[in-house]
Symmetry: C2
Subunit: 182 residues, 2 copies
């Protein structure tokens, strides 16, 4: 049961967003820019970073919804998502993305865990400053979203079909408008 009187029937972060639309707007906007707008990292790659950090933070709602969005970018295939959650370094992703997932994992533990060697390693695979910046910020932002979702004890349904549909909508339309209707 949620810790406060959140609107019923809205899963995960949607219930916090509906409770406090003022803070929802910038939180949606930030996710939209980081995960959905065009960039040199594909939206699918960025969703994998978000999913990985959410799984390290043990947030079921976030890792499942963003996992579904990442899968939707792979025609519904969860293989990469499951591999990245299990171990990014043996997943079937590029060396560059592996090096960025290492940085994201360090940020999840705390910003000071990121070392110059981590950065040099990512650069050796062609990572740009903007890609490194956005990786750090995606990881940092999901340390917020995950804590918001679990810190309010939001309702997190388990129905895979719900997440698959949510992932399709997020992959297609992004985060500016609600992906779940009450």
């Amino acid at each position: 049961m949620p810790h406060i009187a959140l609107p019923k029937g809205l899963p995960g972060i949607s219930s916090g967003f509906a409770f406090r639309p003022e803070t929802a707007a910038p939180m949606r906007e930030l996710a939209h820019i980081l995960l959905h707008e065009p960039g040199s990292l594909s939206p699918g790659e960025r969703e994998l970073i978000a999913t990985y950090v959410s799984s390290q933070n043990d947030c079921f709602f976030c890792q499942t919804s963003h996992g579904a969005a990442a899968a939707a970018h792979q025609a519904g295939d969860w293989t990469l998502v499951d591999q990245v959650r299990a171990d990014p370094q043996t997943a079937g992703v590029s060396d560059k993305l592996k090096s960025l997932l290492t940085i994201a994992g360090k940020v999840q533990q705390g910003g000071k865990h990121v070392t110059p060697d981590d950065i040099a390693h990512a650069r050796s695979f062609g990572a740009t400053d903007l890609e490194i910046h956005d990786t750090v910020l995606i990881a940092a932002a999901f340390c917020m979203y995950n804590r918001y979702v679990d810190g309010l004890a939001t309702w997190q349904p388990e129905d895979p079909n719900l997440y698959a549909a949510m992932g399709e909508r997020l992959a297609a339309h992004g985060y500016r408008t609600p992906s779940i209707k009450a």
Copy 2:
């Protein structure tokens, strides 16, 4: 030295904001709503929550700049800031704020650390659902801001006068516009 080529001469988060204005806008907006807009918790109380979480995350720039903003709301007196950083439960703040700082400290460790008893305790001192929501989100958001600042290895000067001036500006004007000029 920062991990990426951030604009020089801008301390802490200001350099990340200048590097990526697109993500800066919603990050500034969120801080402005959570810390500066009118609410039943005073801006000074909310700055203390932000300072406490930043100190638990060992982020020098954030705990010093928001500590300075909290002090500015106390006519420049750092007593409460130092007490809250040392131990919120013995600080000279209200029982309600102590109970909210307990929740914030739990969120800093991870969202699932917050218990129904923590919430009931805060409610027993009159905390509302909105105050609990905003406490959870302030704590969650500073887990983002702190990681962003340290994950990029931003320049964090030590001059107390710089932070005092920044705190005055933040306390007076909030977070929508830059508090530091290049």
